[in-house]
Amino acid sequence: MDISVDLGGLRLKNPIMSASGTFGYGLEFSPYGDLQKLGAIVVKGLSLHPRSGNPTPRITETPCGMLNAIGLQNVGVEKFLAQKLPFLPADETPVVANLYAQGAEEFVELAAILGDAPRVGALEVNISCPNVRCGGVQFGQDPEAAASVTREVRRASPDKPLIIKLSPNVTDIRVIARAVRDAGADVISLINTLGGMAVDIHSRKPRLANIVGGLSGPAVKPVALKMVYEVCSEVDIPVIGLGGICNARDVLEFIMVGAHAVQVGTANFMRPDLIFDLVDELPGLLAELGAESLEDFRGSLETQ
């Protein structure tokens, strides 16, 4: 069963990628499965300089989901290149760097560094993180800002496949998708987390020190699926679908509405070997459904 995919020039042996921020730098999961099995590894969001993130508590559980306000804690791009990337099986499984910056200039600088890094297979630009005050969400919520960041990053890194990751916290996702496609994105990934909040009536405090955070997990899957469907129907570049994926059936739901590949996020917390099992289960499930290949199944939703 051929389940390989081509993501704007990035070739994956299967469509299962890890979602940024939920799979560490990949190495955290090596005791639980063979990293080389995965289609690609998307690492935790990287910034130009190390960031210590938001104060704690930063995570809280919600019905069928969770909220996080990590605030992009990361080791910084240099330490990543020196201390993490060399240990990943990047020849077998492309490593996708997820970029986070507070402004266009920083994005450009970061893209230039990572665009030149030999073992980085593609760049994914996070224009949608709701957990940092300046930058972040604004880019992802305004089509012009989204387009302009896309153009700048494209220019700074002309060679690597460029994935733009969209925020679901918008009135019409298609408008943003068109804007970044026109600005030069090779691939679109969505969704990032939905804005959310949780409070504790006993302490009368927010459950996150940051007050608000981003919702992820099975709870958001219906929202994600609708937006992925809308974007796939709107633009002609490959789309990576994510949001609440927990099993092989979920994977194929996203493929069926038109996604080329998927990312697994919060489900990595449910069980650290879950993502590896998905890779194993996918061909069998496709066969069971009568598909001849992943591509054969893609976009096969019948809306009569």
Partner: protein, 261 residues
């Protein structure tokens, strides 16, 4: 000690729940699980998530490894919310995903003397530690608790140990307990090392006295954890030398002097 102090390997296993054993109060329960092949260090923990949870709750739950034998991994658990309540009513023979052993346990040397300070459920990681210690005479324990002593596996501890249990039911008890802690910590400071586990306010008191007395101590902290493997960055604690670090990987046991509590 018969256990190596280094983790040999880690894995995620789908294990069977062999049985449940309730203490005097049904909110305190011992879980016996099919043992994987790994070895552990006391202070390390596992993540548990029954298959049956489906998609809610999303997170696994972290528990100290209370004891591990050829026959079982044992968890000593207090029911405090939905996850622990579901676990305490899990059907024997049901399947539970368990991964571990996780984090860094207590660094122990068989020759050293240890003063163990356990607050409430903080006794859990010390059960295996004490029962498997080759010279229990080198260990002494002060156990502070709020519920009746029969809720806890205190009486299981080797008789050769010096063991003291102190129940706190009111403010006065708490203050008295605080004084005893200070006294004992300062008296023990030069004789060996202190190991402590318990709720945050308890650890804060211990840390204060330890630093004042110039004692050497290892503290085990509890934080909200989503993954247990260092990926989610939800469980970070502040350390003096490295800033915010994941307590599931760099901890849960830290040197008292390292932690900013």
């Amino acid at each position: 000690m018969h256990k190596s102090t280094q983790t040999k390997s880690r894995s995620c296993d789908r294990v069977r729940l062999l049985g449940l054993d309730f203490a005097a109060n049904p909110d305190f329960v011992h879980l016996y699980l099919e043992p994987p092949s790994w070895d552990y260090t006391p202070g390390q923990f596992v993540m548990l998530r029954p298959e049956k949870w489906g998609q809610d709750p999303v997170w696994p739950r972290p528990f100290s490894i209370c004891e591990k034998t050829r026959e079982y991994v044992r968890i000593f658990m207090q029911v405090v919310g939905r996850g622990t309540s579901l676990l305490s009513s899990a059907a024997p023979d049901s399947e539970i995903n368990m991964w571990g052993p996780l984090g860094r346990g207590f660094r122990l040397s068989p020759e050293k003397r240890y003063l163990i300070l356990a607050g409430g459920m903080g006794i859990a990681p010390f059960i295996g530690l004490c029962k498997e210690h080759p010279y229990p005479g080198k260990l002494s324990l002060i156990f502070g608790h709020r519920m009746d002593r029969s809720c806890y596996p205190f009486d299981e501890l080797p008789g050769e140990m010096q063991r003291q249990n102190m129940r706190q039911t009111n403010q006065e008890d708490m203050e008295h307990f605080g004084r005893v802690l200070r006294e004992q910590i300062s008296r023990f400071a030069s004789r060996g090392e202190i190991l402590a586990c318990g709720p945050m306010p308890f650890l804060q008191v211990v840390q204060k006295h330890v630093l004042e007395a110039g004692a050497s101590a290892q503290l085990s902290v509890e934080t909200r954890m989503a993954c247990g493997v260092g990926a989610c960055l939800g469980c970070v604690v502040e350390t003096r030398s490295q800033g915010l670090v994941q307590s599931c990987v760099q901890g849960p046991v830290f040197d008292a002097g390292e932690l900013v509590l």
